[in-house]
Amino acid sequence: MVSLAVIFAFVTPINWQIGTGYSIKFSSADASGIFKTFKGNIVFDEQNPAASKFDVTIDVASINTGNGLQNKHAKEEEWFDAAKYPVIKFTSKKIAKAGTGYQVTGDLEIKGVKKEISFPFTFKAAGSAGTFAGTFTVNRNDFHIGKPGGDVGESIKVEVSVPVVKK
């Protein structure tokens, strides 16, 4: 019975609830901002990253560039087309230990285009809470966001910081 409990504890992944104060920032030449609404399911075990899973969404309409006209523009058809594609999805397929941190590979879906990406992230545990942090770059042309060229850089740096608490 004890051994069963130990095995169960070992294989049961830890569910984390996304806390307040998360930050989803993006930046490129001539455009930067944040997404204010982020939600999803985070299952993560430092001891067993292979059993971990991220399934998160970002509300496109929650974009904030700091400028009202840019916000409106960003939600229009040429850019994120928020009416037709209201969320950005990321679903992990593989999470593995990588150096002092971790590496996640998964499908990023923006504007109806799904593309596999892979990026490193860290997890800093603090008791029953913790913070995920990661940075990656996407090419907006891969997702048909805006027209190629123009003032807005094609390479978009995304910085994610997500505080979590154990469920």
């Binding site: 920032k25 904030n64 560039t65 700091g66 400028n67 009202g68 916000n71 409106k72």
Partner: protein, 133 residues
């Protein structure tokens, strides 16, 4: 003429500042956003006074030194055009990302950009008598 023009500019700037601060209070009451951390009363008064001083220098140069009476319409046109032009800055202004509703920012600041010109035209008859034809 320079002195009168400068005093008019300062008076117009001061009253435009007062009007802008009142407008900010009314705006905050109506929409719940006053952008008080960005649009501070001190900044408002500095901007409207600078606007008034620039108008005073422009009036002195155009009407006082250059075109005399014919300069009135040119100056008025330039002041109106300049006021319109400055609203581009309000639309292009990038607010800190923790500001929730940047969409409401132009609604607050665009009218303020016309207050110095409005105050100038309002108080001008007290400083300069209309040209008799």
């Amino acid at each position: 003429m320079f002195k009168r023009s400068l005093i008019l500019g300062l008076v117009a700037g001061l009253f435009a500042g007062i009007a802008a601060v009142i407008y900010q209070k009314v705006y905050a009451g109506a929409l719940g956003y006053d952008f008080a951390t960005i649009v501070k009363p001190l900044n408002i008064f500095a901007a409207t006074l600078i606007g008034g001083i620039i108008a005073a220098l422009g009036y002195w140069l155009i009407v006082g030194l250059w075109l005399k009476e014919k300069g009135e319409i040119i100056f008025n046109l330039l002041l109106a055009i300049a006021s319109f032009a400055t609203i581009l800055g309000a639309f292009a202004y990038k607010l800190p990302l923790d500001v929730e509703m940047p969409e409401l920012f132009p609604g607050l600041t665009v009218p303020m950009h016309f207050f110095p010109a409005l105050a100038w035209f309002t108080f001008k008859p007290l400083f300069f008598k209309p040209v008799q034809k």
